[in-house]
Structures are given as structure tokens and as C-alpha cells.
């Protein structure tokens, strides 16, 4: 079971969280014209990197905050976690 550092609550077990997928995907701005390709990239297409990547989790049985987690998808090692309003620096 993963041990995830919630930036609000501290180290917590994975089963307090629910997964939210790739954290680097930005929702296009409401009301803005967007190409089919860009929309598909937002809705469907995923890099799903092997190695370090940023992903979302919600601390659903904790503080209910969405957080950003940098984790290695090959080893499951976690390097960093950020609050929802903190920007990922790639």
C-alpha cells in the first residue's frame, strides 16, 4: 500500500485517497475556441509515462483536498507532493 504525503495532513496510507490520473493535463478555458486535436488531447490522449510523472490524488477520506504527486510508475517511489494550487515545475 502506497504511503502518500498529503501536503495538508502528512503521511497517510493510500486507501484514504482516490486516484485522479495525469496532473499535467490542463482543462482548456471555458468558452475558448479549440481544435479537435487539442480537445482530444485533453479528453482522451495520455502520455502515461514510464518513470517519474505527476498525478492527482484526492485525499477523500482525509481533508478532501486534491493533491499533486510526483511518483515513479516503474518503482512506485514518491518524490514530491504539492497542494492543488501549487504549480508543477517539470
Amino acid at each position: 500500500m502506497l504511503y502518500i504525503k498529503c501536503p495538508h495532513c502528512g503521511m497517510r496510507s493510500q486507501n484514504e485517497f482516490s486516484y485522479g490520473g495525469d496532473a499535467t493535463i490542463k482543462r482548456p478555458e471555458l468558452g475558448k475556441e479549440i481544435s479537435d486535436q487539442d480537445w482530444d488531447n485533453f479528453v482522451y490522449n495520455r502520455k502515461s509515462l514510464r518513470g517519474k510523472h505527476w498525478e492527482l490524488w484526492q485525499h477523500i477520506s482525509g481533508c478532501r483536498q486534491w493533491i499533486k504527486v510526483e511518483r515513479d510508475t516503474a518503482t512506485h517511489e514518491i518524490f514530491n507532493t504539492l497542494k492543488a494550487n501549487e504549480e508543477i515545475s517539470l
Binding site: H8, G10, S13, N15, E16, S61, G62, Q65
Partner: protein, 195 residues
């Protein structure tokens, strides 16, 4: 008009499980806490008000994980960033909160009826929690609280005392009977007395 609490149907007085030859704090005591005021207080993101200046029943809102500020009647549990759960036996306090926490800066939501509350006292109370919750109770000190889960039911733990342990558990009301089952079933090994 009659009030029916969340666990009224399942919580009955008596001694259960492996209670024989056990006494004092070695026998767990389990009770339902009823008729509490439970209020969620959330400060909006753009609010500039310092929560240290907020005074509710003489207590401040402290944005510190695990922290519980408390007095005789009232406990304010940290529930998340700028998010608190106030629990009080003083039902009238709700008016005070609404006046203190203005709606331009705070969302105040009465959740008094939305929780089932179980209190466990005794030396083995934390052992019972360890049977179903993945939280590291080694870091939970007296007057700390956390949200976690117990056998897949989200719950809040408030540690009121540690010698012997006295903990209050809050779960969503509709899950109350299931959590109650889980907790009492875990307590059978130690034996427990229902109050």
C-alpha cells in the same frame, strides 16, 4: 416529538465479548454520543480575515493539522485547510458561529444530524482502532483529531484522553450502524460494556 439518534436501533446496554475477568479500564466502554452540535466551518479562499481573531465560545480557529482547540463544552477539530469541524454540547452556539463567521468569508454548515458518534473508553481503545484503520495512531496525541477510514468507512477520530484512552468516532450517519458493528466486533476480543 421524538428524536431518534443514529445508533438507537443497535446500541443496547450490557456486557459483550470476552468481558469476564476484566474490569476497570481493561474493559472497554462504548457509548453513543447524542444531541451534539456539529458544524462545518470553512473559510473561503479569498477571505483575508485572520482566523486567530475569530472567537467562538472563547476558542480560535487554528489552521494546524491534527489540532483540536477545546474547552469544557466545545471542541474545534481541524478538518482540512481552512476547514474545521466544531463539536459542542452547547446547541445554541450555532447562532454565535453564524454571527462570528460572516457569510462573505465563511461557509457555515450545520451537520449535527449527519453524523453517528461513538465514544470508546479504555486501555484497548486504540487497539480496536488499529484493527480497521490504516492510520499511524502512534502520532495521535491527546487532543488531536484526524480523518481516516475504518473498514472502508470514512471516519473522524478525536482523541479526548490517553490515560486511559477516550476516543470519539464520527461517521456519516447512514454508515453508523455498519461502523458500530465493525467497532464492536473488533472489541469482542477485549470485552466491552455498553453505556
Amino acid at each position: 416529538m421524538s428524536l431518534i439518534s443514529a445508533l438507537a436501533k443497535v446500541h443496547h446496554p450490557g456486557q459483550f465479548g470476552d468481558f469476564e475477568d476484566k474490569k476497570g479500564d481493561d474493559l472497554l466502554k462504548i457509548s453513543e454520543k447524542k444531541n451534539l452540535l456539529i458544524v462545518q466551518i470553512v473559510q473561503f479562499k479569498n477571505s483575508n480575515i485572520s482566523t486567530d481573531s475569530i472567537d467562538i465560545d472563547g476558542l480560535n480557529l487554528k489552521d494546524t493539522p491534527l489540532n483540536v482547540t477545546f474547552n469544557k463544552n466545545t471542541r474545534i477539530l481541524w478538518n482540512g485547510p481552512k476547514n474545521w469541524l466544531l463539536v459542542s454540547s452547547n446547541k445554541d452556539l450555532i447562532k454565535n458561529i453564524s454571527l462570528t463567521c460572516k457569510e462573505t468569508d465563511f461557509a457555515v454548515t450545520d451537520l449535527s444530524h449527519s453524523r453517528a458518534v461513538i465514544e470508546i473508553e479504555g486501555n484497548y481503545a486504540i487497539e480496536v482502532l488499529k484493527k480497521g484503520s490504516p492510520f499511524n495512531f502512534g502520532v495521535l496525541k491527546k487532543n488531536n483529531s484526524i480523518n481516516s477510514l475504518y473498514n472502508n468507512i470514512t471516519f473522524t477520530v478525536d482523541l479526548l484522553n490517553d490515560k486511559p484512552f477516550k476516543v470519539r468516532l464520527f461517521a456519516l450517519r447512514s454508515f453508523g450502524e455498519s461502523l458500530y458493528h465493525s467497532i464492536t466486533d473488533s472489541s469482542l476480543e477485549f470485552g466491552y460494556e455498553n453505556k
